[in-house]
Symmetry: C2
Subunit: 342 residues, 2 copies
């Protein structure tokens, strides 16, 4: 069930593709990544293999039914067979999308992924959750489909802008809070790049225990319930929205006790958080509650599963009613209003 994870130089990727047991490779590449790296990677010409390329529009935009249908049409009209192998080249949106294409084409073909952003290296590429978005929310339409290989080349990070790096580092804040080991490394100010392996190993271990997310895997959603709602409401980068989600959870369900430590990791990971989008304004409770009610983690019409953290490395699940959340948002109104980047 597990993916093979390898750290490798960019120059070796062509060899990796050559080694796949198939005569047909279907590359789904992020448009920007392709224009920056296609020449260097030279993946379109491999002896004995037919290579097809579908370029994905920038970012989350690719994750809708129109693109899914268009990519599947593109490949299916070119005589795809069951041993075809899909390759994702890009960030989390590209791998979420490529995994969906691989999951649904002929009821599932194999796939491998080459994450090119910090966020996708530490999170999206790992664990086999694939999805597209619906008008009602992020990743509401999806499947579980493990990639065969995850090839991590951290030199892709050299062309990543500050916002993208901050977004990836935002997801590392989550790992640092869930794992004492990762927290210790963050506090000792190691380079961000050197944390990639730790985050992947931490996530892989949890996913192996609980692939279909019936139990322990749920802790990886820490900060994500509010995070997704905030991301949607303010069109923020995913990892940044998750950091706000983490800070919010700490206020609502932990009396802000981890605040100092959270800010410490934010600082050490050099995250450009900026001011909260609702600074000095009312927090948009109604709108956020609407997103929450549509979240995948709801288990009945009245309840949602939340991950609560009382100390570093000690996550707990809480089944909370929407009423209780709404009351808490009102109770901590002033604290939330004051939430800022410092």
């Amino acid at each position: 069930m597990n993916s093979t994870i390898e750290f490798c130089k960019m120059d070796f990727l062509k060899e990796k593709l050559r080694g796949l047991d198939t005569d047909l490779i279907l590359i789904i590449a992020d448009l920007n990544v392709w224009s920056l790296y296609s020449k260097k990677l030279s993946l379109l010409n491999i002896d004995g293999k037919k290579i097809l390329l579908w370029k994905a529009p920038d970012g989350e935009k690719v994750k809708d039914f129109e693109n899914l249908s268009s990519a599947l049409d593109f490949f299916l009209s070119r005589n795809v067979h069951r041993k075809a192998h899909v390759i994702s080249l890009g960030g989390g949106a590209t791998s979420d999308f490529s995994g969906m294409v691989a999951a649904l084409m002929l009821r599932g073909v194999k796939w491998s992924t080459i994450p090119t952003t910090l966020l996708s290296m530490v999170d999206a590429a790992i664990g086999g959750k694939v999805a597209i978005n619906s008008p009602q929310g992020k990743n509401l339409i999806g499947a579980f489909h493990h990639p065969e290989n995850i090839w991590v080349c951290d030199s892709f990070l050299e062309t990543l802008d500050e916002k993208e790096m901050s977004s990836g580092a935002g997801e590392i804040v989550k790992y640092a809070l869930l794992s004492q080991d990762i927290y210790n490394k963050v506090v000792s100010e190691v380079e961000v790049k050197s944390l990639i392996k730790d985050c992947i190993q931490f996530k892989e271990q949890i996913v192996t225990e609980d692939f279909k997310e019936n139990g322990i895997r749920k802790i990886l959603n820490f900060g994500h319930t509010f995070g997704h709602a905030i991301e949607k409401e303010y069109q923020l980068p995913h990892g940044i929205a998750v950091v706000w989600g983490i800070l919010l959870m700490d206020i609502l369900f932990n009396d802000g006790k981890l605040k100092t430590k959270i800010y410490q990791t934010i600082e050490n990971l050099k995250i450009e958080l900026g001011e909260s989008p609702w600074l000095n304004k009312e927090f948009p409770v109604t709108s956020i509650m609407t997103y929450l009610r549509k979240d995948k983690k709801t288990t009945s019409s009245e309840l949602i599963d939340l991950v609560v953290l009382n100390e570093i490395g000690k996550a707990e699940f809480l089944s909370v009613s929407f009423n209780e959340i709404e009351n808490k948002l009102s109770e901590y109104k002033e604290e939330i209003k004051k939430l800022c980047s410092i």
Copy 2:
């Protein structure tokens, strides 16, 4: 992994739904079935449960991206949660489609199915293969997602027209050829209805052995490779096209040795086969080959897996090149031309 299969009276269906462990039931019903039976079934009002209804356009038409997206939007915009339970009410197209909705919504919710056609009772409802069609062919986009319950009420067959009954019986021809027991019953002229259970049990047993169709399950595709191509080319009912596919396989790979027995089952099952759509014309080789090359059973750009039958109950797999198939179609040209319903 297995589904619970129950034969029950129509009046008991409401009780079955009431017994589901959920507070939210999402019914996907074939438009025609709904207009014929909704009053009698009275499924929209069950104490303690919220029931949502999405009506599916008639037949195969529902199985495209537009309807998939529309059904998912409909449910997701009404606050669906992970414990929601999808109910399919209709024939094979409805259950293929409903299973896809259940498979993809929030990365998978449970579902159950109430097959209302003979074809779906003996085939489509069993085994967890769900799919939509693509412009390139039938069921090319899909997943494996087992229904929790299959509730078979054979009184739905009372409103089925002759064409639909023949199509369902066409699939029973396949079972009769794959299983000596079922063949014996068909030869002894039992009533078609009484074969439903045997077909379901035969299929369930095979599916249990090989859910993901890596081996033995492939025998269930007997007659289907050519069948799907013929179905698409001539817009025939599925089961009828499968019968033509079976007859064609017997000519091409078995020197027509089972012909008499095949015609015997067709007669005993009261199938209105009609003349072959290509009677006294050239068989459309080029067009059929194009469909074959797009079939899911292709394993490389040159090969396709076929199921070949030398005697009743003795299926074999053959990996055949497209060239060989094309040569055979030309070699047996005259026999194919003469293929008819007698």
